[in-house]
Amino acid sequence: MSAVLAVPGIEHNFFTLTLLLQNLTNALANGSVYALMALTVVMIYKTTGHLNFAQGEMAMFSTFVVYVLAIEHGWNIWLAIVLVVIGSMIVGAGIERVLIQPLESRSVLAPVILTLGLFFILNGGAATVWGTQPKTPIPAPFPGHLDDKVDIITDRLPHFFITYKAIGVWITVTVLVILLNVLLKRTKLGLAYRAVAANAESSLIVGIPVKRMLMLGWALAAGIGAIAGAIIAQYRNVLDFNFMAAVLLFGFAAACVGGFDSIKGAVVGGLLVGVVETFTPALFTFVGSELSLVMVLIVILVVLYFRPQGLFGSKRVERV
């Protein structure tokens, strides 16, 4: 049956139902993590207009602290994650206040360059403190044994199953997006945050402490990043000082596709990037998995050609 579809360059097994479904679950789990990283990018960009290049390394650092608490000290993993998320939020707000704010008025590029510097400090710092070798065991927020899975199609080969890890990733992302929406759309704090994103000067006029809202953006980004780090370390089964760099690239790609100022865009963009990243090497035999980032970049180019503000991003309206 499968020999019928022997098209050069196309992996004919790709169309096997169970394999297709397996790829799809992978794509959506990866994509969900990219969506989280894209959300961190969006939370900071909306109010400050900056990209934070250290976002991935901040998440990596947080994940190492989870490792220390949960593995080295044997704390409950979720307790460790909650404490690290709170700590990361405080540190994120502090970085904005102490390092970014003083540069803000001087130059548009200075804060961005500073986040690049922060990238190298955190990257090198983690390598110095925890070494360059991958850590084992990796903290496991979700049951991660080989048989921790839901079997769905078992009457043919290969089987189709969904791991608890993947389900955990989906639930985490869904819950976070709902909480974020409630915070931004249903609370006075969220309204103030969105007001600053829409018009910082008028926000001052109505009495919103604008600088604190910028800190809030950084705090939310750092907290979401810490969760993303902890779940992707388990999902990808790797924890070392470099493990978040590529993830952040995909997160930037997702935010770019979805629109740098849109939460909905971050989620859709993340899933889209996850699908492209997983499906192109699985479908085309001449696309190795190393080339998947290139495929993602091609998708970005196509989207931005037709919608420069991204799929859901708002056009910046300049009034005179």
């Binding site: 008028s202 109505v206 009495g207 005179v320």
Partner: protein, 237 residues
């Protein structure tokens, strides 16, 4: 009559460029005062200096309390509402959210909803568009929204910077009729910067003329209306 706003010896500058030089003016309680002047005379800067949004020296007091050195985000809480030039609405928030944000400093959340409904009675167009994004409104509607938003903080002093800019004559008349109502019926004190001097002097008690960063003339609205120099420069007859 008690003085609400008192500005003495006000200097203001953008970096090295000094715009205001020793401006003195005052606004009494329940008064409407107009600030006239050519482009670049420093009218907008005067408003921004009162709100501490530019570097200032000198003294600005509101009900006796010094404002110089206070952070700009504190002004709303002190009772100053500011409608900046170019509207200053929140384009990515809905009309209703714009009004909610206008009440950010208020503690009496229970009354805020009622005030929003009152805004819709005052400006029915806004009520029809309450769920639309402010960015999708026409220029006149955005100006109404900016004014309604400013009133949401229940201000003691309303600072209006070129409220008529870019609006059709009929809309401008409606807007100024509203200002007049607000002042007569609710006693809202106003300082208005306005190019349309005729219209502004109609509802004003007093006026100042600003030239190159200095107050060169002041008096009652009627006095300024009959002043030859003012007539030639700002009233056009």
């Amino acid at each position: 009559m008690t003085t609400m706003l008192e500005v003495t010896g006000l200097d203001a500058s953008y970096g090295p460029v000094q715009v205001l030089r020793g401006v003195d003016l005052h606004v009494d309680e329940a008064e409407v005062v107009v600030l006239l002047g050519a482009n670049g005379a420093g009218k907008t800067t005067t408003i921004r200096a009162i709100c501490q949004m530019v570097d200032t020296k000198g003294s600005v007091t509101l009900g006796g309390a010094e404002l110089v050195g206070t952070r700009p985000e504190k002004m709303a809480g002190l009772g100053i509402a500011h409608v900046p030039q170019g509207r200053g609405t929140f384009p990515e928030l809905t009309v209703d959210e714009n009004l909610q944000v206008g009440a950010f400093v208020r503690k009496d959340r229970a009354h805020v909803r009622g005030d929003i409904e009152r805004s819709y009675m005052l400006f029915p167009r806004l009520g029809e568009r309450r769920t639309q994004l402010a960015g999708s409104l026409s220029g006149g509607e955005q100006q109404m929204l900016a004014v309604a938003r400013a009133l949401m903080s229940r201000p003691r002093l309303l600072l209006l910077d070129e409220p008529s800019l870019g609006l059709a004559p009929l809309i401008i008349q409606g807007l100024f009729a509203r200002f007049n109502e607000l002042n007569r019926e609710e006693g809202v004190t106003m300082l208005i910067v306005e190019q349309n001097a005729n219209l502004a002097l109609d509802i004003a008690d007093r006026a100042y003329v600003l030239e190159a960063g200095r107050i060169v003339l002041s008096g009652s609205a009627a006095e300024l209306r009959s002043n030859d120099a003012v007539r030639r420069a700002y009233l056009g007859f």
